[in-house]
């Protein structure tokens, strides 16, 4: 089981800030493919990955990053702090 977290417009469009799912994915991009099968909203949110960033256990990573033993995977738009 892995905890998936959403921020900003992803959170708004999915109507939730987190969900716990059973995943067999070994990389972030594989997890995205699983998530897209969850619902139409998921499919839509992840339809264009150009505007989405991912973090594995609170570290920013590329989409092909492994997620072995990860506790928490997060998806969000490019950051706009400062």
């Amino acid at each position: 089981m892995v905890e998936v977290r959403y921020f900003a417009w992803l959170r708004e469009r999915l109507g939730t800030d987190r969900e716990t799912i059973a995943s067999g994915a070994s990389t972030v991009i594989e997890l995205v493919a699983e998530l897209r099968r969850q619902s139409e909203a998921h499919d839509l949110v992840f339809s264009d990955l150009a505007g989405i960033r991912a973090a594995v256990d609170q570290e920013l990573v590329d989409m092909d990053h492994p997620i072995a033993n990860a506790q928490e995977i997060a998806f969000f738009p490019p950051m706009t702090g400062g």
Partner: protein, 153 residues
């Protein structure tokens, strides 16, 4: 060498922070501060700004950025304060401060901290208008370009 990172919803007193920072930066000679303010333009009025962040990751990312600056420049002190939650126009969003024996190091490291923080610390801004419309602020290509420039040098 000292790093001070604060992520908070409460307002901060920029002047008091800068004074305390400079007082504690013994032997530094050069102190630079940057402050980001919620814009308040009559022609484009904002009702408020809302800042979301990824608690836990935010602190880690800011600490990482501050350590990287400390490793690159001869700094005696780094301060980063960043707010989240609802902010009114003219309120201060965040600040960084750097102290160094060298003026160029103080400037460059503060500039570097801002470039990294802007694109690598998990904050997202939303601007709410008086008519109820609210839009997420979009990341700018120039921000990623600014980051890339530090990698080259």
């Amino acid at each position: 060498m000292s790093i001070d990172i604060r992520v908070q919803s409460a307002a901060f007193d920029l002047g008091a922070e800068v004074n305390a920072f400079a007082a504690a930066a013994q032997g530094a000679g050069a102190v630079v501060s940057f402050t980001g303010v919620v814009r308040d333009l009559p022609e484009e009025p904002l009702a408020h700004m809302e800042i979301e962040h990824y608690a836990g990751m935010t602190e880690k990312a800011l600490l990482h950025i501050a350590k990287e600056a400390m490793a690159r420049w001869p700094l005696v002190r780094v301060l980063i304060i960043h707010r989240y939650g609802v902010l009114a126009p003219s309120e201060k969003i965040m600040m960084v401060a750097t102290a160094s024996p060298h003026r160029k190091a103080a400037f460059e490291s503060a500039d570097f901290l801002m470039d990294y923080l802007k694109s690598r610390a998990p904050f997202w801004k939303k601007e709410a208008r008086h008519d109820g419309r609210a839009d997420w602020v979009e990341a700018k290509d120039e921000d990623e370009a600014a980051l890339a420039a530090w990698k080259k040098s």
